[in-house]
């Protein structure tokens, strides 16, 4: 349809009926005329309609899905009318786009009162004007619409107008002309007084400055482009492996940001002051041997790295007395810096900020990736949305095509399976296998947890092993090996079970892996807070826990390197050289992301005992990024399973928030509220629990005078009193419930609207069939009286196909 089409349409003349807009007011009239029409046409139209339907059944064979199809069964005339219907022109013609945006602008302006259909200006509905009698209607049409749109745009605020213009699917030149037109008249009557041209000398100077700044800025910008972290690397990964693998690296970047935030707060409020006021060292610093990098003990022990190094004094007071026996009055100039309080509140505040950020980003991700009614229409979504435009490599593109083809075939097979359900026996067998595999996986997790427990008990009971530094590494090594090996075992088991959908398979694998990691970490937490605290009486157990977490983190990294080396590089070489397979090993996104989450959990667990742990984690993440990137580009290929990148990132954020962060927070809360801190080291050495520091401070404030008496009050009523907590959680529950109800309501509305649309569609089909039958009858009559005069016929209407030239 590259050329404008024109053809003559004979419309039966019914005087008085022409040129009237259907409006809600004369609905009854319209009704009457319909009635008349139907009565008039009932005989022949019914016959024709039946004929049509029959023909169409023969053609399609499945008339339930599509009641009526225009191709093949209708004459070209009807097809042309169909082609110029507004719902179809909107996808291709400029005029229709303009009028659609005109309507939107109108709605934006009168947000509260949506205009009725009858109130619209005629040209706002392009379709009704198409059947115009004029010779060149299209050009005038478009101009008219454009001027209307310009007027509407003028009445909008500048910000809204620009937003609107930017979002219009028009070419740049058209947008610019629209904008210039919509700006012109306003400058006249709303000049801004006293802002320009008052002081020309000043202005010229400013002009020179601005120009200089501009060129400087341009140079800086191109430099900045190079500095945008990993822009090129991420583009390359996306181009070669698509969004799915890219999501792993983006997740890694998110984790880096979280750690950087945490580290910033900890350095500013805990480490900085402590470094500025160093306490006296208990003895000469031990010599470093190099093994400390792995164990974190030895010469690292008495540094700012661990809890034990921090003092329990008020830092910038000259007498530096312990907390509860403070005779010094604070100096007038400087605020006293109470280290225990700072330690506690910084950790608390940084956790709180992390929590807020996590919950916010999780909620945002949920809003993005789970829309109301997003579960239906899998075929259409796969076809329309699965191509990844980021892919830039021929090979990757071919791989993507293969994956999409496999996916489509799977979907079709699944669809056919659903329409011919499996036998009872088959389903029973499937359930049995599923149950067995689940049992085995849970058994594996339980076994791992037991093994960790037994081994840690053994470590506590054998005193000769505790003396050597290298022995400290055994427990992290065992845990790391279990963490590495058990998921492989689960994967082998998962190969046995039949899964209907590949997405479900991924979720199940994630779930099992997560259960395993949770079991191991839970056992370890019990080991640290339940057993070690009791065993290490008289020593600094906080330091020990911090060191253990450091060792776990380092060992996790080392094992990850080994896994990358053997699991990816060596496996690739073996499969290429020995097995002569063309396929490279796949990059297992789920397992890798879960490893990242595991590492992050370790960091959060250790923040209280080793404030520098986030720094270690940052270094680790940076190294992981480069190692994984290199290994990926050299050894791996994109997974051939379909991967819903945004759903998966939402799931991973949720996992990061829910078991990982929440677990760490519970662990730390328990440590702060319930466990007695060791009496020989750390900022809380004189207190019963760490939380006491806050209470002691409040008592101080009460003693200090009435000026700050609101603080103890706040403490007493809001923190100590449980009523406030109940109130907040009740409010939260109410909000959640309201949201659920709103979503349910929306779902109902969507159903209703869908029903309405399909009704309208049926109306449309009905009307078009009527039109068609009338047209055909006319044609037949015309043919029968060929040669007679045609003056009596209705004036011809010109129908042109609107075209976006």
């Amino acid at each position: 349809m590259a050329q404008p089409l024109a053809f003559i349409l004979d419309v039966p003349e019914t005087p008085g009926d022409q040129g009237q807009d259907p409006s809600p007011y004369d609905e009854s009239e319209v009704h009457d005329s319909f009635q008349q029409l139907i009565q008039e046409q009932s005989q022949c139209a019914a016959q024709e309609g039946l004929e049509l339907q029959q023909r169409e059944r023969e053609v399609t064979g499945s008339s339930q899905q599509t009641l009526w199809r225009p191709e093949g069964t209708q004459s070209t005339a009807t097809l042309r009318i169909l082609a110029s219907m507004p719902s179809r022109t909107i996808g291709r013609s400029r005029g229709a786009i303009i009028s659609q945006y005109y309507n939107r602008t109108v709605q934006l302006r009168r947000r509260s009162s949506r205009p009725l259909l009858g109130n619209f200006v005629r040209s706002a509905r392009p379709s009704l004007r198409l059947y115009d009698l004029e010779l060149d209607p299209m050009a005038r049409e478009e101009e008219e619409k454009q001027s209307l749109l310009v007027k509407e745009l003028q009445s909008l605020a500048v910000a809204q107008r620009d937003h609107m213009l930017r979002g219009m699917p028009l070419s740049l030149a058209e947008k610019r002309s629209l904008r210039e037109k919509s700006r012109t008249p306003r400058g006249k009557w709303r000049g801004q007084p006293g802002s320009g041209g008052v002081c020309s000398c000043c202005g010229r100077l400013r002009y020179a400055c601005v120009l200089a700044l501009h060129s400087l800025g341009l140079a800086l910008l191109s430099a900045l482009q190079a500095l945008t972290p990993w822009r090129y690397a991420l583009k390359r990964i996306g181009g070669q492996f698509g969004s799915s693998v890219l999501s792993y690296f983006l997740f890694l970047k998110t984790l880096l940001a979280f750690n950087a935030l945490l580290l910033l707060l900890l350095v500013a409020f805990i480490m900085g002051p402590q470094v500025a006021f160093p306490p006296a060292l208990p003895g000469p610093a031990p010599v470093c041997t190099g093994l400390e990098l792995l164990t974190g003990a030895g010469c690292f022990t008495h540094t700012v790295m661990y809890y034990g190094h921090y003092s329990n004094a008020t830092l910038n007071q000259p007498c530096g007395s312990p907390l509860d026996g403070s005779q010094c009055t604070p100096r007038v100039g400087g605020l006293p810096y109470n280290m225990p309080l700072a330690y506690l509140s910084t950790v608390g505040v940084s956790f709180f900020i992390t929590c807020i950020t996590l919950v916010y980003s999780m909620a945002h991700a949920f809003g993005e990736s789970y829309r109301v009614g997003s579960t239906s229409g899998i075929h259409a979504i796969t076809v329309f949305c699965s191509w990844d435009y980021k892919v830039t490599q021929k090979r990757a593109s071919r791989l993507q095509q293969d994956n999409i083809r496999t996916r489509l075939k799977e979907l079709l097979a699944e669809w056919q399976l659903r329409h011919s359900p499996r036998s009872v026996c088959g389903r029973l067998r499937q359930a049995a296998v599923l149950g067995l595999v689940w049992l085995l996986c849970l058994g594996t997790a339980l076994g791992c947890a037991m093994a960790v427990h037994v081994f840690s008990e053994f470590m506590i009971q054998s005193p000769e092993a505790a003396g050597q530094e290298a022995a400290l590494l055994v427990l992290p090594l065992v845990v790391g090996l279990l963490n590495l090996g058990a998921p492989y075992l689960c994967r082998v088991l998962a190969a046995l079970e039949p899964h209907d959908s590949p997405v479900l398979e991924v979720y199940v694998a994630i779930c099992r892996n997560l259960i395993l990691k949770l079991a191991i970490l839970g056992t370890l937490c019990y080991h640290w807070l339940g057993r070690r605290v009791g065993v290490l009486q008289g020593q600094c157990w906080e330091d020990f826990v911090g060191q253990e977490l450091y060792r776990f983190l380092v060992m996790d990294f080392v094992l990850m390197l080994l896994d990358t080396l053997f699991g990816e590089l060596v496996w690739r070489i073996i499969s290429e050289k020995k097995l002569k397979r063309r396929r490279k090993p796949e990059f297992d996104i789920a397992r890798n992301v879960l490893e990242l989450i595991y590492g992050q959990t370790l960091t959060w667990l250790g923040v209280l005992f080793s404030p520098l742990l986030p720094a270690v984690q940052i270094i680790k993440l940076l190294l992981v990024f480069y190692v994984k990137k290199t290994s990926l580009l050299a050894n791996c290929q994109a997974p051939c399973r379909p991967w819903l990148a945004s759903h998966m990132s939402t799931v991973f954020l949720t996992l990061l928030c829910f078991p990982a962060f929440l677990g760490a927070a519970v662990f730390l809360c328990y440590a702060v509220w319930q466990v007695k801190p060791s009496s020989t080291c750390g900022p809380f050495r004189t207190l019963d629990t760490m939380y006491e520091a806050g209470r002691v401070w409040v008592r101080h404030l009460e003693a200090a005078g009435p000026r700050v008496s609101w603080l103890p009050w706040v403490h007493r009523y809001l923190v100590e009193n449980t009523f406030f907590v109940f109130l907040v959680s009740a409010l939260l529950l109410a909000v959640i419930y309201l949201n659920i109800q709103v979503v349910r309501g929306q779902r109902k509305v969507i159903c209703l609207l869908k029903e309405q649309i399909s009704n309208e569609g049926e109306d449309k089909i009905f009307l078009i069939n009527k039109l068609h039958s009338i047209y055909e009858r006319k044609e037949r009559e015309e043919r029968s009286r060929v040669g007679t005069t045609e003056e009596a016929a209705a004036p011809p209407a010109l129908l042109t196909d609107e075209q976006d030239a």
């Binding site: 400058g187 041209g197 969004s243 009614g373 083809r405 489509l408 759903h647």
Partner: protein, 235 residues
């Protein structure tokens, strides 16, 4: 970025560039800048103190979703496609690059929809070349910040192979062939194709007229959060 000669003018940059929602100050100076545009449109020389206003950049508000950096990069990449004598700013803005050269860009080379993309964005009468503004339009739609609405609109036009404003069975089968590969051994069998298209129509053709129009298409797209992240071309 070369010498200052190859740089875009500040006004032009500001015109293409995206900004956040302007604050009240910018809103207040809107009318003043409007008059500025009129002067420019009328071809009158502007007094220096008018341009001296640092807010004059706001005269040309955002027409694309690109940032300044991205526009500069796009201009550089576009100039690389041009012959040496056309690389100055003025002639590069007027130049038309034929499809063959645009398609040789690595960002488009592996894309099965590359011809369609170029056709949809071309404003030349013969639809066989892209100007710099068309190129910017293309990048703007495929950028990070473009709204899902405009992305889905252009996706619809890309998938509408016969340009008739609606996706019919023919369009859908060509689309599926693009997705799975055109070769004899790679495309779906006829029965699979028919089944697939039937399913697609059943799922998304709400008004049951046998084709998918723009709003039905956008309805499907709105349910897929991955679309906005995958409908992206990074230069």
């Amino acid at each position: 970025m070369g010498g200052s000669g190859s740089r875009l003018s500040k006004e032009l940059l500001a015109e293409y560039q995206v900004r956040g929602t302007p604050g009240p100050r910018e809103l207040a100076c809107g009318p003043l800048l409007g008059s500025r545009v009129r002067e420019l449109a009328a071809g009158r020389p502007r007094p220096p103190q008018r341009s001296a206003n640092p807010r004059s950049g706001f005269a040309f508000q955002d027409l694309t979703f690109l940032t300044k950096q991205e526009i500069l990069l796009a201009h550089r990449r576009f100039c690389e496609l041009l012959p040496q004598e056309q690389r100055s700013v003025e002639s590069s803005l007027r130049a038309q690059v034929p499809f063959e050269q645009i398609l040789s860009l690595p960002e488009l080379k592996a894309n099965p929809f590359k011809e369609r993309i170029c056709r949809v964005f071309s404003t030349s009468p013969a639809k066989d070349s892209l100007s710099f503004e068309d190129f910017l339009d293309l990048l703007s739609v495929f950028s990070d910040t473009a709204t899902p609405d405009i992305k889905s609109h252009y996706a619809f036009r890309i998938f509408d192979f016969d340009d008739d404003g609606t996706l019919n069975r023919e369009d859908l089968s060509r689309l599926v062939n693009c997705l799975t590969g055109e070769g004899e051994d790679t495309r779906l069998s006829a029965s699979e194709m028919k089944q697939l298209i039937d399913n697609i129509l059943e799922e998304s053709d709400i008004d049951r007229d046998g084709t998918i129009n723009l709003s039905e298409f956008q309805h499907v797209i709105s349910r897929s959060p991955d679309f906005a992240s995958s409908f992206k071309i990074v230069l």
